[in-house]
Amino acid sequence: MTTAVATQRKPFVGELLGRSDYAIIGEIVEPNTMVLDLGCGEGELLEWLAENKGVDARGVEMSGVKVQRAIARGVSVYQGDIDEGLADYPDQAFDYVILSQTLQETRTPVKVLREMLRVGRRAIVAFPNFGHWSVRMSMLFTGKAPKTKLFPHDWYDSPNIHVLSVDDFESLAAREGLTVERRYCLAGHRRITMLQNLRAEVAVFLVRK
């Protein structure tokens, strides 16, 4: 298993379970904390956090088949909808609530973000950057809904219903009065600091109220 970490100083970010955003999340999460992963899929990240960081790991996932696989690997996941599903949790029940590559798929992203910071002290949000130059070029030159490496779907079968850019998230965080504690912008395995909204493929934010 690759466990290379991203740090503020190192420009290169490794992979965790084949993903660089997971490597960053794996670094952010402090040991022995309570973590809720929304849209956790088959629970790979939660399993890793439980094994390697002693985290009390819980997850929510819509797909019944993925829930089954997650539970079969020993992760406590329940089948439910992120848009509705957090209501039962008490306030500040978790140290971190993770939303990885899913914010753009939710029906009510602002409500989800608020709920994340009600049930969790901190939110970790990772998303593909719709402001990336390839998206802009695709739209400019084809005049059609952009299809790129980051957004590979046709408009009619895309799960992404609320696409956003790095700057969009910054604006929303400011509007919601959130503090951005850390921001990682990635192009491939390279962490970038200049022209982030244009060059970042994936962004990972650590925010709190």
Binding site: A50, Q68, S76, D88, P90
Partner: protein
């Protein structure tokens, strides 16, 4: 694996209704080995008509246990790793004290003098057995249907003694519909003249009433779809309708067979007492909230329901899951897709096995880690 049912007698047990039963016998079986730390014990809780014979081949009858597809080497409840226990419930008729047992005060069967019991009473007796076996804390308690009700009661009544609970196809509160079906069964028995106010032990048992009760039960355990697949409108050993009230359809034949077979292995008075215990299940209490009842619970949970189960529908499992979440307890939940209705937890076990195996493995790992720390 040949297994023998064992029995243990306790001096007495105090019941929720204020009565005391003395003495009280409990029939149980075990599979696998208890480890030195006594940390690998799992208590399996049977459903309404089950018994202590959950797995292996009975030395007495030569029959496999009711959950033999789930308990054994390499199965969901892996006897190579875990020590599995199953006991007949209080009020039952398969070795544990029930209305058919001899009342020492009279030398005759208790019959309707048997006290009305609750699920909590059943669990109290199981706790006595576990303590007798020297087990402080169970790795898991599990069961489907009424077994699930007992699993929930364990987690609530003995929070220090349960590391994990796996309630399957069950509820924390018996609904009007569930009470209604139980009442139909009870009335079928009581309406049978052979019931004789419950005093039939020296004569003819209320076989017709008990058989009808069981027929109703079996309908609720299946689904519309599973009945269509299994029977459809197929006729039984005939080409045309009989134009009489003998058996025309396969489904009639099946229900009659199930009903009459049940009479041979079940006591009608136990039927009355056990269904009543189920009907009293309401963990939240009158006007209370389930989350409040769960306040002291420490166990982690795996809750499982089945899509076609209309007797214990998924919404009842979800109520349990929501209340656990309100308490911020560790809970995994999945509704499995199955056509088998309520029976699914007994017969449609492939996916159920994957879930339980994974859940138990991580629970056991946590427990070992805990002990080390």
């Amino acid at each position: 694996m040949i297994v023998e049912t064992q029995s243990r007698r306790f001096d007495s047990i105090s019941l929720d209704n204020g009565a005391t039963l003395a003495p009280v016998d409990v029939a149980y079986e075990s599979y696998g080995e208890l480890n030195e730390a006594k940390s690998n014990a799992i208590l399996v809780l049977h459903a309404f008509s089950g018994d202590a014979h959950a797995a292996g081949v009975s030395a007495e009858t030569g029959k496999p246990g009711w959950w033999d597809n789930m308990i054994g080497p390499g199965k969901a409840f892996d006897t190579d790793k875990y020590f599995i226990l199953c006991s007949n419930i209080l009020g039952g008729c398969r070795g544990t004290t029930g209305p058919g047992s001899i009342d020492p005060a009279t030398g005759r069967p208790y019959a309707m003098k048997f006290p009305v019991i609750t699920i909590r009473d059943m669990v109290r007796l199981q706790k006595m057995l576990i303590e007798h076996l020297g087990i402080q804390r169970l790795l898991a308690v599990t069961g489907g249907s009424m077994g699930g009700m007992q699993a929930l009661e364990w987690a609530v009544s003995y929070p220090e003694s349960v590391a994990a609970a796996i309630p399957i196809a069950t509820t924390a509160r018996h609904s009007a519909q569930q009470i209604a079906f139980n009442e139909v069964g009870r009335q079928a028995i009581i309406a049978d003249p052979d019931w004789s106010e419950g005093n039939y032990y020296e004569g003819k048992p209320p076989a017709r009433g008990l058989a009808v009760a069981r027929m109703v039960g079996h309908i609720t355990y299946m689904s519309d779809e599973s009945m269509r697949e299994k029977f459809g409108r197929r006729l039984r050993s005939k080409e045309k309708y009989g134009f009489d009230f003998s058996v025309d359809f396969e489904v009639e034949s099946y229900l009659r067979y199930r009903g009459s077979e049940f009479v041979n292995r079940f006591d009608a008075n136990s039927y009355l007492y056990i269904t009543k215990a189920m009907d009293y299940v309401d963990l939240a209490g009158e006007g209370g909230s389930l989350a409040t009842t769960l306040e002291k619970v420490k166990a982690r949970f795996l809750v499982i329901s089945f899509s076609s189960d209309w007797l214990y529908p998924s919404y009842q499992s979800l109520e349990i899951v929501r209340a656990l979440r309100r308490r911020n307890l560790n809970v995994a939940y999945c509704e499995l897709q199955s056509n088998y209705g309520h029976d699914a937890f007994l017969v449609d076990v492939a996916e159920e096995t994957d879930l339980i195996r994974g859940f138990l493995t991580s629970t056991f790992k946590d427990k070992v880690r805990e002990t080390a720390a």
